[in-house]
């Protein structure tokens, strides 16, 4: 929507043409709403559950146990010298964050259509809420990692300081892809189903539950073109100090993430104008 708000609150409503502006100032103006929606999301999610917010910890732990038994104990996959449970948890952590962020962002517009159809606010708030609630879950599962590291007596490495960088990278990728898919999902509900399959495949194309050294040499370059590979490896490197340090691959991932995020944001703003008419 092409809206100019001047000193005296003059709003011009008309059909917008051409490239939209991102309207980030408008989003800032509505930060209270962002806060309350996030709060509603988190608080509403765990009401009337015996475990409540504990699920934030139980879910990643359960996955870790499944993969540890299956791949660590039975298949005896190599794990770069740390206990396999820790190795895979350090990969599952960012993977779950990325996958949840993407999935929730992609579903966000359709899920919130009741509000979108009745009130105006910068629509970017909706996917931002999804991302922020994913971050809250991530921070909770980071606590579990700390406990696991204590349990296995693995000391954190100095590389820990690089964690925010990879977290931001994963956020950008998740949000960027999510923004694209959220708009597509409004037009074609097939998107959400397709995304489920795609994420399932991507999980195994990314070194989440195995080390990338398992991939034959001649496929390595291709394998590292997946921008998630350096993200997951980077997390593991930052958290445990093991595995290859991301090099050019991280730079490549940053480039991809920027492209996806910026194009996604503009596409979102473009679709936002008439989103109510097609929901």
């Amino acid at each position: 929507m092409d809206t100019k708000i001047a000193e005296n609150h003059e709003t011009i409503i008309e059909s917008s043409r051409g490239l939209p502006c991102l309207g980030l100032a408008d989003v800032w103006e509505y930060r209270d709403l962002l806060f309350f929606l996030l709060w509603r999301e988190i608080k509403g999610r765990y009401r009337q559950m015996a475990l409540g917010p504990l699920w934030m910890l139980v879910a990643p732990l359960g996955q870790m146990i499944i993969y540890s038994v299956l791949l660590g104990v039975l298949a005896r996959l190599p794990s770069e010298g740390v206990p396999y449970a820790l190795f895979t948890y350090a990969g599952l952590l960012p993977w779950q964050f990325f996958a949840n962020t993407t999935r929730q962002t992609a579903d966000s517009l359709v899920n919130q259509q009741a509000i979108i159809a009745k009130v105006y606010f910068p629509r970017l708030i909706i996917p931002l809420v999804s991302v922020l609630s994913g971050l809250v879950d991530f921070l909770a599962s980071l606590v579990v990692l700390a406990i696991l590291m204590l349990f296995f007596r693995v000391a954190p490495a100095w590389t820990f300081v690089a964690l925010p960088f990879f977290l931001i990278l994963a956020t950008m990728l998740g949000l960027g892809i999510g923004l694209w898919l959220a708009c597509l999902n409004v037009k074609f509900r097939d998107t959400a189903i397709g995304l489920g399959f795609a994420l399932e495949a991507l999980r195994f194309l990314t070194p989440v539950v195995y080390a990338s050294s398992l991939i034959p040499e001649r496929w390595q370059t291709l394998y590292h073109l997946n921008p998630l590979t350096p993200v997951i490896e980077g997390f593991r490197w930052a958290l445990l100090g093991v595995g290859p340090m991301p090099n050019w691959t991280a730079a490549w991932a940053v480039l991809v993430a920027l492209l996806v995020l910026i194009s996604g944001a503009f596409y979102f703003r473009h679709t936002e104008r008439t989103i109510v008419d097609i929901l």
Binding site: M1, T3, N8, H9, E10, T11, I12, I13, E14, S15, S16, Y30, D32, L33, F35, F36, L37, W39, R40, K43, G44, R47, Q48, A114, I115, I116, A117, K118, V119, Y120, F121, K187, R273, T274, I275, V276, D277
Partner: protein
């Protein structure tokens, strides 16, 4: 101040509606269609719309609203009222034309938007307030006032899913009533809650207007339009038919409405001799105003305007009508022998009027069919002649409004305990 705060210039909005699909005749045809349907769906959404898929909800609408005015917008269902409000509240964009608005807009197209059933009343006040554009400290400041207005203090820390529907609506409206924008845009939201609460809401709206705020108000409730507005705009099929004082607008609306009814005159799917013909069906409230929707619990008249042919003489005419659901299930039938009324000799033009007391139907659209009979012979009959739209209202005086999924009729009952 005479400066317009809302200036609407040649505003139009086009919607794309699905074109009719052809039903396949053979099994092979049906199979083929299922196979190509993904491609057909993609093609139909991606190509520009064809002529017959286009629907103009608004066409070249222009009007101005001055500072401090309370303007009503009236029109039948589908006249474009909601589309206009949606554009002015920036929920969707116009296709062409523009609107210039001076001031902060608060729009109330629904009460309780974004209420989360699992959260408490207190939490929902903050959430709903923020959704409607209030700042956190603004809500904090008005919190006690809102709770007071809603009358649900006792349950303020209970999840709203445990609320009765009446309490839910009160709380939702209480938040809405404390919005203080420069321009307030209100859709039909006053048809909820009990009568007492409705009065409170109307009073609050009157206060808003007195404080010099500008209000745009859509309603089917002509009494509310007449009392609250000074000016009104009549919309019909996406066009502005009239702009002027609210009194003149209401009569213009009623004129257009009865003109729409005139199409009944041209109906050919009639049974009977035609010596008496119903030429129009009108719904009126107890004060005699034409209405297009009836609120549950309301008294109203169904008026069958008729014409009798010149030589027609009889005093044994029976007028009967049936109210059916959208799925053609009969709900009730009424005729004048039931109330022991005889019409006597019919005038050449007149109307059979049936008063329905305390409308006992749940909110839903219904169909009206009628028959004019003499002895065993039909004079005139149309099985699906008009629509009867029932909207939520306080039948039980308790704020509870059962949906039509719980049954179509409302029955007055009383409960007690025996042990």
């Amino acid at each position: 101040m005479d400066t317009p705060v809302i200036r609407v210039e040649k505003l139009s909005k086009m919607y794309r509606i699905g074109a009719k699909e052809q039903q396949p005749q053979t099994r092979a045809g049906a199979f083929k269609r299922a196979a190509i349907s993904p491609i057909a769906y993609l093609r139909s959404t991606l190509r520009p719309p064809r002529e017959e898929e286009i629907f103009w909800a608004l066409q070249d609408i222009s009007f101005e609203v001055k500072h401090g005015e309370v303007v009503g917008i009236i029109g039948r269902n589908g006249a474009g009222k909601s589309t206009l409000l949606k554009i002015l509240s920036r929920i969707t964009e116009p296709t062409s034309g523009r609107a210039v608005i001076n001031g902060r807009v608060g729009s109330l197209l629904e009460v309780g938007t974004g209420f989360h059933p699992e959260l408490t009343g207190r939490e929902n006040i903050f959430l709903n307030g923020a959704i409607m554009g209030m700042k956190r400290n603004e809500i904090q400041r008005k919190f006690d006032e809102i709770v007071d207005f809603s009358g649900v203090e006792k349950f303020i820390d209970t999840p709203v899913k445990r609320y009765s529907s009446g309490m839910y609506v009160r709380l939702a409206f209480a938040v809405a009533a404390h919005l203080e924008p420069d321009i307030l845009i209100i859709d039909e939201v006053l048809a909820v809650g009990d009568t007492e609460f409705q009065k409170k809401c109307l009073g609050k709206m009157g206060d808003v207007a007195k404080k010099g705020r500008t209000v745009l108000f859509v309603s089917h409730n002509m009494a509310a339009i007449e009392n609250l507005c000074r000016r009104a705009v009549v919309l019909d099929k996406g066009l502005i038919r009239f702009t002027g004082t609210q009194i003149a607008a209401i009569s213009e609306y009623q004129r257009i409405f009865s003109a729409n009814q005139a199409s009944l005159k041209d109906r050919t799917d009639r049974k009977g001799s035609g010596e008496v013909r119903v030429v129009g069906i009108e719904l009126r409230d107890a004060e005699g105003h034409t209405i297009d929707s009836v609120v549950c619990g309301q008294d109203f008249d169904i008026v069958f305007h008729f014409e009798a042919s010149a030589g027609f003489r009889s005093n044994r005419v029976v007028a009967s009508f049936i109210v059916k659901t959208q799925w053609d299930v009969p709900v009730f039938l009424h005729h004048n022998r039931m109330s022991g009324t005889e019409f006597g000799e019919l005038p050449s033009q007149g109307a059979f009027v049936c008063r329905i007391h305390k409308t006992p139907l749940t909110p839903s659209p219904y169909r009206i069919g009628y028959s004019i009979i003499i002895g065993n012979d039909y004079l005139d009959s149309i099985s699906d002649a008009a629509e009867l739209n029932i909207i939520a209202g306080d039948f039980f005086k308790s704020g509870e409004v059962p949906p039509s999924s719980h049954g179509f009729c409302l029955v007055q009952g009383s409960w007690s305990m025996e042990s």
